[in-house]
Structures are given as C-alpha cells and as structure tokens.
C-alpha cells in the first residue's frame, strides 16, 4: 500500500472520531483499522472474496430486499397528494416543465384517486395502496427524491450505481463487497426477475461494474435450474458422485500437504463441499411449498392477479431468512412508465404489487426479521403533474417518492415535500447519492470508506467529490 493511502486513512479516521459524538471506544477503533485495510486492498486471491466481513460501525440492518418498480411510478397518484392540482386542473403549469417528450406537454392533471390517512402515524396514501396503508406505521416514506436524468437507462444506472454511465457497480454489489456473505451455499446477491422477461437495461441493473464479477447479482432463473451447473449430470448416480468427491478430497489433501499455508487451496477444497450443498440449498431456499396457507394468502398467492409478484416477494423473504445479503425483485420491462392511460395502468399495477409488497413487510416483522432487513420500494424517477397527451404522465427527475422499511429506518415517518404541484422536491431534498450513502450507513458501511481501487484511485459508490453525497440521519431511527 502506498504512503498516500495510509495518510488518507489516518486523516479520515481522525476526522471521523472527532466528529462522532461519544466516540466508539478502542475496540471499535481496532475494528476500523481492520476494515479499512481490507477495503483499500484489492481482494486477494488467497481469501474467499465472499467471506463475511465486519461493517465499519455497528448497525441493525444486515440484508436488503429491493422491490424495484421499473418505469417511474407516479408519486402524484400514489404517495404525494396535491389538492392544488384539483384547484388548477386544466390550467398550464406556471413555469417551464422539463419533460422527456417535450412536444406533448399539456396542462395540469390532478390525480383521480382519493388519499386517506393510515395508521397511528396518519401517513397519507392513495386509495390504490390499501395494503401499503396497513403497514404505514412500519415504513419511511420519502417524498422528496430527485435524480439527474429523465432518460430511463441513465436514471436506472443512477439509482443502481450512482452514475448515469455504464461501468460502475450496483449498490447490491457494493453491499456484498462490504459485508460478504453469511450463507456460503447461497449466492450473496440474488435477483428474482419477472418470468415474463428482464427489466429495461437488463442485467446492467445488478452489474458488479469494476468490482470483481463475484459481487454481481446472480439471477435466479424462473424455469429450470436457478443457477448454472446446479445439477449433477444425469448419467452420474448419487453414490458415484459421492465416490468422486471422496477421490477428489484425497487428491486435494495430498496436494495440500505441500502447501499447508495456502488459504486459496483450502478454499477451493471446501468449495466442493459447498457446491454440493448448493445443489440442495438453492432449490430448497426457493421452494415455497412448505409455507402455510395463511402465509400464502398473505402474499396473495391464492389470487391470480397477485400470485406472480407475491411468489417472488415470498421467495425474497425466504432467501433473506436463509442468510442472503441482497435480494432484488424486478418487473418485466417498465410497467410504471405510464405515458398514456396513467390512471388505468396504475390501477392494474397496484393490484398486482400492493398486497405482496405490504405482505413482505408484515411477514418479516412477525418473524422478527424486519429489524435486520431493509425493504426498499422504488423506481428510477417520478412523473409530471401535467398530462402527456390526454391521459398520460411523462418522466420527472425533480421529484419522486419511495419507501423504506426495516433495518433501522424510521417507522411511520414521512420525509421531505414537493412543491404545490408535486413537480419539484423542495423540502429536505434527497438525491440518489444521499440515498446510497444512507442505505450503506444503515448496513454499517461508511460510503466514503467503502472503496475499491479502480483506474488509479480508490473509487466509491457515492463518489462524494462529484456528488457531495451525505447520509440523511433523519431517515434513521437512531436520529429521531
């Protein structure tokens, strides 16, 4: 390691300790030293890059479930009521509107949906989200999100990797890089895609970018074997396979005697056992047949409208329960991209996703998993308060809403606000980089110290010099 790097850490550690109220004591200091050394060093071949690692600081959250809503859900119709829109419906927006299809911008369009208060927190949500309403007291609703692009692909890369340009790592990859895996026989970062097909921008949504490929999301296939090479070749009986593995063990043990200190060789030997365990563990983790009728009903598996999304939400819970670090659930293409027939499309989409999403929060909570699991429901941007054509809404990068639950995020809390029309976030604005910093923080990771050497520098998810990303303490329990 170079002198430069040492100095940088010295500086950071000092400033961290002086700025942290109360400090964290000697034990924590040693702990940092260890984490930093690792984070700044390329992952060496001699260690399993997925072995569990201690976070930078103590934190509740250990895993994440991302319910990604491709296309840009309309905050105005779902999360962010705007009575002013009703008043002024049909009038032009008083100002310039930045739209993706700027020739089709028309006048202000109010939401046709009623909003009501939910729970003790009194969180106001649309009638399209009755189930989300039932877990309102467990979620943090952020109404003041912004991003930097109205282009789908760029905005997807921004919210997933922190950069509009390809090549950076998704935050799921960063989380797995930072914390490793707690369950070796399952992939650390699992992606559950829609059986109908991939979301827009495909596998780039869970890319490891410049991080080693081992950190990229593993897409569990909906049909056949969920991961590659998971089944023993048909012609090899189980007993024959066991005999094979015994032989392999003998050969490898003899080989290891010559290199007793090689952790890489040891890892490779144990990986065969692990691989054999994966062959049963992966199908078992996804097998929802053992779930009770009540649970299946909770997720809406008994209803054809909700069954598909419900199944993946339930699988996500099972995976997290069994130690998977990061699970992403996607919809095919970008259904929330409601350029026309906005209201009708939202009815259908909420019908599919509202119940399963809320069920996931409830189910995690009753199993005691919500404290250690962050659930995030988000799209890549929001939609405009003006109509596009007669009945659509165009992209909006200046304001969108998303919700988070569990893992130390505040319960029953609404953060930030948009202007009277819901066009621009104006209060307590949170951009995607702040969101990333906060998510990492909730997992015990310091977004400025979780680094990886790339193109001659220690790169980060948040790239603070460019983004000025900051943790948003108000979103987290400990700061309330």
């Amino acid at each position: 390691m170079t002198q430069t790097t040492h100095n940088r850490f010295a500086l950071n550690r000092r400033s961290f300790l002086t700025t942290t109220a109360g400090g964290l004591g000697l034990l924590a200091l040693e702990h940092f030293a260890q984490s930093e050394a690792r984070a700044a060093t390329p992952v060496e071949s001699t260690v399993n890059p997925l072995s569990p690692r201690r976070p930078h600081h103590l934190a509740q959250a250990k895993s994440v479930i991302l319910l990604f809503q491709n296309g840009g859900p309309s905050q105005i119709d779902l999360f962010d009521p705007k009575p002013e829109l009703l008043e002024q419906e049909g009038k032009p927006y008083p100002g310039k509107v930045e739209a993706h299809f700027d020739k089709q911008v028309r006048n202000l369009l109010a939401s046709p949906f009623k909003f009501a208060k939910h729970g003790e927190s009194g969180m106001v949500l649309s009638e399209l989200l009755p189930h989300t309403g039932s877990v309102a007291d467990d979620i943090t609703l952020v109404r003041s999100m912004t991003t930097a692009s109205v282009d789908h692909e760029q905005a997807l890369r921004l919210i997933h990797t922190g950069s509009a340009f390809a090549g950076k790592a998704s935050y799921g990859s960063w989380v797995v890089y930072g914390l490793g895996s707690e369950r070796e026989e399952l992939p650390a970062f699992v992606v559950l895609t829609d059986p109908a097909g991939l979301p827009i921008d495909g596998t780039k949504n869970w890319t490891s970018g410049f991080l080693p490929a081992v950190y990229q999301g593993t897409q569990f296939r909906s049909a056949g074997s969920p991961v590659l090479n998971l089944s023993t070749p048909g012609e090899v009986p189980d007993a024959a396979r066991r005999n094979q593995l015994d032989l392999l063990q003998q050969l490898n043990s003899a080989h290891l005697e010559r290199y007793p200190n090689s952790s890489e060789l040891k890892a490779r030997i144990s990986n065969y056992e692990l691989a054999a365990r994966m062959q049963t563990a992966v199908p078992r983790a996804l097998d929802i047949s053992s779930e009770t009728a009540q649970t299946r009903q909770l997720y809406g598996l008994d209803n054809p409208t909700t069954a598909d999304y419900g199944k993946r939400c339930l699988m996500a819970r099972r995976l997290v329960e069994q130690g998977v670090r990061f699970v992403s659930v996607y919809l095919q293409s970008q259904p929330w991209d409601t350029h026309s027939k906005n209201a009708d499309s939202l009815r259908g989409l909420c019908g599919r996703t509202d119940q399963p999403s809320a069920a996931l929060v409830q189910d995690l909570k009753r199993r005691g998993l919500l404290d250690s699991t962050i659930v995030m429901w988000a799209g890549e941007f929001g939609r405009l308060p003006v109509s596009q054509g007669p009945d659509g809404r165009d992209h909006n990068r200046h304001a969108f809403s998303l919700w988070l639950a569990g893992g130390g995020f505040r319960r029953g809390y609404v953060h930030g606000a948009t202007d009277d029309f819901g066009y621009k976030s104006v209060e307590d604005v949170v951009n995607v980089h702040d969101l990333h910093a906060t998510l990492l923080h909730a997992l015990g990771l310091d977004h400025e110290r979780l680094t990886f050497p790339h193109e001659g520098r220690d790169d980060t998810l948040t790239d603070t010099v460019v983004t000025n990303a900051q943790v948003v303490p108000a979103l987290l329990d400990s700061h309330s």
Binding site: T2, A148, V227, L228, P260, E264, N271, A275, M278, G456
Partner: protein, 953 residues
C-alpha cells in the same frame, strides 16, 4: 491542498446553468477525484517511475553459487537481507509443466515429458525454452496478455447494444504474429499508434502485405468502447458518446503503454501526478483527427469505419472470380427467363421493362412523379437516370435503386397508369420483378427493406381521391407490410402478406384478384407462387395509378424484368389451377441452377479480401483543438498544440514530413517517436511498464503491483533496482520481448521449487521476496485449453474470425460442441463484452470494460459447480477416457498413469495411484453398462477438478 480540493470540488459540481442537459451529463460524467492529503510539490519530479533510466550495478550476494542470471543477484540480495534464500531447483517434470503453461499456456505432452526427463545434456532446459519460444502457441499465450492490457474485444460495447466488431480479429492475429516474430516492442507500439503514417498509406497507392499489416496494427486505437453507430439521443448525448470514444482511447493508450492514469485530467489538473489540465488536451489533439467528436459531419461510427485494403493481386483474383460467377448467374437467369416466357400461363401484358436496350433511358418509362400527382415525389426527389443519391439508373441491363439512408419518403413510378381493380370476379392483375441484388455495391450492408408501391397516384395527398399509394414494405426476414395511402396522417396499415423473406436471385410481386362483392384479394408472389397470408382490399383502396419503388432509409437494391400483366377470367386463356401448379413445379425445378449459382456468388461476396477496421485521420488538416474549461464540451478555452507529457519529455515532439498524398497529420507518428525516443524519460517509463507486465505474467505478481498505474498513487516496486535493470536490458536488447523472457526463465528465481518452507513462510508470508516459485492457478483460457489438450481434442488452428458463442436457454454462454472451432484455444472464442463464454468468465477472463492489466484470481463455488456439472468438462472427461481406452493393450494401471501424466504432467505418486485404482474399482459397481469406461470418465473428471490440475507449481 484544501484550497485545491475546494477548487476542484466546485469546478466539478457547480456547473451552471442547471437546466442545461449537457451540464447535467457533465456533472455525472466528470470522474473527478478526491482528496489526497498530499499536494503537488517538488517531490513528484523525483517520483521513481518518471526519472531517466540508469545503469544499475549488480548487487553483491553471499551465495554466489546460486546465481544463474543477473536477475538472481537482485532477488537473492533481498532474500539474504532477511536471512532467506532460494528454494531447491524444481524437479524436471514440474519445471516442464511450469515452462509450458508459462510460455505456451498449454500443458506439455506425454512425449515431451518423457523426453525432457530422460535428457541428461547440460543444455536440455535451454533447448526446451528455445523450442517453446519458437512455437506459434507462444504468441497465443503472450498475445492474450497484450490483448487484455490493450482492452481488446470483439464487440463495440455501449450498454446492451454491444454490437459486433467483425474485423477486430485481424488485430488479434496481428498481435499473435508480433509476439511470435518477436517484433521489437518500440516498433510494435509505433505500428499500433501510427501504422498508417509509417506506411505512408494513401488510397491511391497500391497495397502491399506490409501495408495491410501496418494498418491492421492501428486497430489498437479502436479497442475502446464505441457506441456511436447506435447512439441516437439528442445532439448533446451524441457528443458525449463520441467524446467517450476519444477519451477511452486516450485512457487505454496512457494506461497500457505508460501506466499513467489520465482520465481525471480531463476536468482539472491531476491530483496525484504532475500533469496539467491543458496537457490532457495536448494529448487529445494527437488523436482528435481520428476521433473528431466535436466536428459533427466528420465523425464515422465503428460499423462504417471499415475500408477495403487489399493487395492488388488479392483483389484481382477475387474480382476475376466474381466476374465469372456473375456471368454464370446471368447465363442461368437468361435461361430461366426464356423458359418462363415459353412456358408460363398466358396473360395480357400491361407494362414491361427489361432495362436491356442499349440506348434505353429510364426516363422513357419512369418518373419521380406519380401519374396523378402535381409535384415530384419526396425531398429531395429521386434523380432519374442519375447516380446522385437518391438516384435511379439503368446499369448492366438492370434498374439500380440507390438510397443514402437519409430520412423522408421518395419514390420512382411508372409513367403508365395501371388499372389495379379487375372488373369481374375471378380476374386478376399482378406485378412481378426480379430482385437481382439487395445492395448496389458489394461493400454496403444489405437493404433494410425492399419497398414497392402499386396504385401510385397521389403521394403528396394533394388530390381528393383517398386510398392508393399502397406500399409493400418487404422485409428481408419475412413477409411484407401493407400500408394504404402511404405516407401521411391518413395512412393505414392493412396487415402483412406472405411469409418468405426477400433474397437476391428471386422473383417477387403481388397479385390482385377480384373475389366479388367489391373485394380484392392481395397475394404475395415469390417466384410466381402465391403465399398463404393474404389481405383483402376494396376498390376505393385501389385507384388507378403507377407501379414504383420506394427510396427511403437504406433501401438500395437492384431489380430487373418488371412485368405487370392481367389474367381475364372468362377467357379461355385463364389458366386452370392444375396448369398453374404444374407450371410452378416445373419452374422451381428450372431455377435450381440459378439459385445454386447465386449461393456461390454470395459466399464469394462475403469473402471479399481486405475488409479492414483500422484508424486514419478523418480530418485533414487537423482542426484546432481547445482546452475545455472544466472538461465541458461546450466550453472551449485556448487552443493547444499536440505534445507529449512534460514530465516525461526529453526533447521534442517533431511532426514527421509525410508524402503529399498521405492524408494524415503525422501527429500519432510524432507521439510514437516521442514515446520511444532513445534515452528519454518517456522510453524509460515505457520500458519499466512493459518489463513489469512480462514479470507479472511469469510470477503472478508484478514487481509493481499496480501494472496500469506507475504514478504516485500506484504501488511502489518490490525490487526497484531489478525493475530498472530489466528495463535497461530490455532497451539494450533492442526492445526484444523474447530476450526479456530469457533473462527471467533462465534465472534460479524462476526455476526454484514451489515447496513450502516454514521458516521462510514465517519471515515473508506473502512470498513478496520470492523465496519460492509462487503456486499459481491456471488462467481461464489455460483451464479450458489444457482440458482440450489432455483429452487430445485441441484444435490448434491459428488465426481467423472468432468462434461465435451462443447463449443457451439457461443463460449459459457456450460454444456449441458441434460447431467448427469449438475445440480451438480460448483466445479465438468470441470476446463479446456482454456475453463472455461462461466457463472463461467464471475463471476470471475479463468482460472487457476498458483494459485489464491484471486479472482477478477468484475462488468461488460456482467454479466448483462448473467443474463438477458443466457439459464442457464432462465432454472433455469422456474424450480423455476414450483417448486412453483407444490406446489398446494398456493395462488399467498403465491407463491411470497415463491420465495423470496428461492432466498433472507427472506420474501419480504411490498413494494417488492407489486411490485412483481403488476409485475405479468402486465406481464400476455404480454402473450397469460400460462400467469400465464410465468409471474412467469419472476419474478423468476428478483429475480436471483437482488442484494438481488447476494449479501450476
């Protein structure tokens, strides 16, 4: 430093106006950096990597008897300082396997092992080294090292588009040849940076094989991702995409050659290295004429950046063959046309044009104005009897429809007005034409559509008549879309007809039949045969009008024998169904010879020699280049002149004098000469970086652990004097890479055993000082290639287009085992950025983003699953078992010995042999049939899966 940091922070964040899309893109794009606690001060000038190269004294060591080459003095001195020494010399088998993977990337053969072990002569090792260095397989192994470092890929990247680079392989082959021929490294670089300028290439001069080689080398500058053939956003996005190509190229050049990170200097001066902001643009100006991203009209996307550069004799031979094949086709066509005339069911000819009278002009029968229109069609209108694009001419007795791909709708129509609605039920009218070719010149892509109209009368919608202008938009992949009253707001779609695609050499058209009740059935005709999928139109849809071809959007093609004819129903001449069926059957038979000739001709067209993806200056003279304020493309500051980096400059950056007809600035050659100038600091750094790469690939770790970063933010060298010593020797050898290999592989450091020694391990647990030869996992390609070599299946053909990979239903990216080339070395498999072969990818072959100077060596369970369960490994195991079974008369124990030798490169040890024999015996019991063979397959597979196979000692 804090002031500096604040300045940079502001520069990159605060870029008004915020509502400019460009500015937003810039904010997220500017990969500006951080926060070094160290500022720019005098110490950079003394940075070890940037100084001139100095002669290094050999250090004194105590154990003189251990020294084999000067390299050992440096390594041993560091070891002795820690009370350590080299390990024992490795045994013969181990050495041979190590050398073989190291120099060739392949295991030694059984015979080679036996011969080397038995060879007592003092130069046995040297003869093996020299044999390997002269093997063509050497270039495949070490060429891959360079291709990784240089960012080679067979696709263009740019998100998911990632389109094909069909000619990149020629550069890959150039690199393999360069290593095999020990092309001197300074020359190797000059060729890659400026081969066209070295060759003084001009399209006017004849091409020699040397020219082709030099131009091929410049593909080095095409390795960056380039999505500008797909990029279709607003003008700002297009600019960003184009700029990305130039920036990527510069980044690759500086990282790969000099180990300098340059990207951040785009926005501001470098935080770590002594490089000024303006210097980025000085460097950029060297490559700007190749990638003129701000000069909208000069840019050429990667798909179009392919030129015809073949030697005269290659071209002459190819053209002569093409003429013969074309004559053959013409003769067969003539026969077929004559036969058809004589045998077809009788009809009334309404319009006919064969374009074959010597003095014919197109304007006699054709116009760019539809019969009912009062304005010429389209903007710009079609140029009749002209090759101006869009243009229509008679050429070689056929009609050439020439389009340039610009948007807008244009057409060419018959002057004749044709009645498209036969009066009586059962009557029909049809138009047919021969599609001679789907392109006008062989170099262009095939037509995107074959578009033609009937009832053309009111294209500009000026008359009150609705309907008409029925466009049949023929898709080469299948069927033709039917659009009524095209174009305009009132255009409607009537579905599609037919199922066949459009292929050159066939006859196409439509038949309209009155089926009564004001309904007209429209059938698609392929070689006169109607296809099943039809549409039905009304008389209002089909007013009288001309027949014509569409000129839009990449629809250049050649047609002939246009024939409009009608078939009366009440007349005796109306053919019976039986007659038509008989005619079609006979017709299909008759045209077989023609079809066969077309297939041969098309194959020949595809093999046109000299298609070359290379670089040349697109703008001459080179335009002025400006420094860009904060890297913003819309914020030019002062102009800059091309120059090398000041911190490495010893003497000038001299533009060469190129011959007058050479359309190039000479800047790249000046840069290459500056870079390689003898005794300069730039050449010193160049040598250090390359020496380090070579060392790294011999020992698994470079003397500098950050091969692409020799700057202040990179790692310090573990053996700085050794690095400089090797650099000096490298330059002194005339930049011979093979000499460099020799100075390494003849050393005691290289030949020592990998055996663990507890004391040494305690003192230096990471073996940084090289007290043993590091145990190393095989590289991805070597894992795959070694299995193929062991199983006896390795296809060792050199060079040529990549072996395509395919993605299976389950997501596995493989080469189909039955494909030609499926057993070739990994370097020849398609290196598509987004779809790397799964097995290679699992073992850390890069999915190329920019460059890969150092591969990761991961150890993950997915590798174990692949070795246990993948069909590739199973198939190799079967082949290996077959191979030893085929060697009859060998007893079981001898077969075991043989598979160990083929996989581990040595005989099994007693315990291993016992374990294997016991295994076979037990395994046989699990199988009812072929148990002998199946047990052997299972043994072979476990040998492939074992560490003794996957690691080199």
């Amino acid at each position: 430093m804090q002031i500096w940091k604040a300045r940079i922070g502001r520069a990159c964040r605060n870029v008004p106006p915020v509502d400019s899309r460009m500015a937003r893109l810039f904010v997220v794009f500017c990969l500006s950096i951080i926060v070094s606690p160290r500022g720019l001060s005098g110490e950079e000038a003394e940075h070890w990597a940037f100084g001139p190269i100095k002669q290094v004294e050999l250090p004194a060591v105590r154990q003189l008897d251990l020294l084999q080459t000067p390299v050992d003095s440096f390594v041993l001195r560091s070891l002795e300082a820690q009370g350590l020494s080299f390990g024992e010399r490795a045994d013969r088998r181990t050495l041979l396997r190590r050398l073989s993977f190291d120099l060739l990337g392949l295991p030694p053969t059984s015979e080679e092992i036996i011969a080397f072990v038995a060879d007592d002569s003092p130069d046995a090792y040297a003869r093996v080294v020299e044999r390997m260095l002269s093997s063509p397989k050497y270039g495949e192994r070490w060429g891959k090292m360079w291709l990784d470092a240089a960012g080679y890929a067979d696709s263009n990247g740019y998100f998911n588009a990632d389109t094909d680079r069909p000619y990149a392989y020629k550069y890959r082959d150039y690199v393999i040849r360069a290593f095999n021929n020990d092309k001197l490294y300074d020359q190797f670089l000059r060729e890659q940076l400026a081969g066209d300028e070295l060759a003084a290439y001009s399209p006017k001069r004849s091409v020699t094989p040397k020219t082709v080689e030099l131009l091929t080398a410049t593909h080095f500058l095409r390795n960056a991702q380039d999505g500008t053939s797909e990029s279709d956003g607003n003008p700002d996005e297009v600019t960003v995409d184009r700029a990305t190509v130039l920036e990527g190229t510069l980044q690759i050049t500086m990282n790969t050659l000099l180990g300098i990170t340059i990207q951040c200097v785009r926005c501001h001066e470098h935080k770590f290295e002594p490089i000024e902001h303006a210097e980025y643009y000085q460097l950029q100006s060297i490559f700007y004429p190749v990638f003129p991203f701000l000069h909208r009209d000069a840019w050429v996307g990667p798909v179009q950046r392919v030129d015809q550069v073949a030697t005269d004799s290659e071209m002459a031979a190819w053209e002569s063959e093409l003429r013969q094949l074309s004559d053959e086709i013409a003769a067969r066509r003539e026969e077929f046309v004559e036969w058809t005339k004589a045998n077809r069911p009788p009809s009334v000819i309404r319009f006919q044009d064969n374009f074959d009278s010597a003095e014919a002009t197109l304007a006699e029968n054709w116009s760019n104005q539809a019969p009912g229109d009062d304005a010429p069609g389209g903007k710009p209108p079609v140029n009749v009897d002209s090759v101006s694009a869009p243009g229509a001419t008679i050429h070689n007795d056929a009609l050439e429809v020439r389009e340039v791909g610009t948007k807008g709708n244009r057409w060419l129509s018959t002057k004749a007005v044709i009645d498209w609605t036969p009066d009586k039920s059962g009557e029909s009218v049809q138009v047919t034409f021969d599609l001679i070719s789907d392109k006008v010149s062989v170099d262009e892509p095939p037509a995107a559509r074959i578009g033609y109209y009937i009832a053309l009368h009111d294209f500009d919608d000026s008359s009150s008549t609705t309907g008409g202008n029925i466009l049949f938009d023929g898709n080469p992949a299948g069927s033709a879309g039917v659009h009524i009253d095209y174009p305009g707001d009132d255009s409607t779609t009537a579905g599609s007809i037919g199922t066949s695609g459009y292929k050159a050499g066939h006859n196409y058209g439509v038949r309209i039949t009155n089926v009564g009740s004001d309904e007209f059935r429209v059938e698609h005709l392929v070689d006169w045969a109607p296809e099943t999928q039809v549409v039905t139109l009304s008389a209002a849809d089909l007013p009288d009008g001309g027949f014509g071809f569409e000129y839009c959007c990449g629809r250049s093609f050649v047609v002939d024998n246009i024939l409009v004819e009608s078939f009366p129903s009440s007349d005796d001449s109306q053919p019976s169904d039986e007659a038509v069926t008989a005619f079609l059957a006979a017709s299909a038979e008759q045209r077989k010879a023609l079809d066969a000739a077309v297939v041969v001709r098309n194959a020949h067209l595809a093999s046109k020699p000299g298609q070359l993806a290379w670089v040349r200056d697109l703008m001459t003279p080179a335009p002025d280049i400006h420094r860009l304020e904060r890297g913003s493309y819309s914020d030019p500051a002062e102009t800059v002149k091309p120059a090398g980096l000041a911190v490495l400059s010893d003497g000038g950056f001299e533009l060469p004098v190129l011959p007058d007809d050479v359309q190039s600035s000479g800047r790249r050659l000046a840069f290459a000469n500056w870079l390689t100038q003898p005794d300069s600091r730039s050449a010193a750094l160049l040598a250090r970086v390359m020496v380090n790469r070579i060392w790294q690939h011999h020992f698994g770790r470079g003397l500098v652990a950050t091969p692409d970063n020799f700057g202040q933010s990179g790692a310090e060298p573990s053996h700085p004097e050794l690095l400089d010593y090797l650099a000096v020797e490298f330059v002194r050898s005339g930049w011979s890479v093979k000499s460099l290999h020799r100075s390494i592989v003849y050393s005691a450091a290289f030949q020592q055993s990998s055996e663990h020694r507890e004391a040494a391990s305690q003192a230096d647990p990471n073996n940084r000082l090289l007290w043993c030869f590091p145990l190393r996992r095989l590289a991805a390609e070597a894992v795959r290639d070694a299995m193929l070599a062991a199983s006896g299946e390795l296809d060792d053909r050199l060079f040529g287009p990549y072996v395509p990979t395919t993605t299976l239903q389950d997501g596995n990216v493989v080469v189909d085992d039955g494909d030609d080339g499926a057993r070739r070395r990994g370097i020849y498999l398609q290196q598509r950025r987004t779809k790397m072969n799964s097995l290679l990818s699992l073992f850390d072959a890069p999915e190329m983003v920019s460059t890969c100077g150092q591969r990761n060596t991961s150890t993950v369970p997915l590798q174990s699953l692949a070795l246990l369960n993948s069909s590739f490994v199973r198939k190799r195991s079967e082949a290996l078992a077959r191979r030893v079974a085929g060697e009859a008369s060998i007893a079981a124990e001898a077969r075991v010995k043989r598979v160990f030798r083929l996989t581990f490169g040595r005989e099994p040890e007693a315990a291993e042999k016992r374990a294997a024999v016991d295994f076979l015996q037990k395994q046989r019991a699990y199988y009812d049939t072929d148990s002998e063979q199946k047990a052997m397959i299972d043994l072979c597979q476990m040998l492939f899966a074992s560490n003794a196979f996957l690691y080199v000692e």
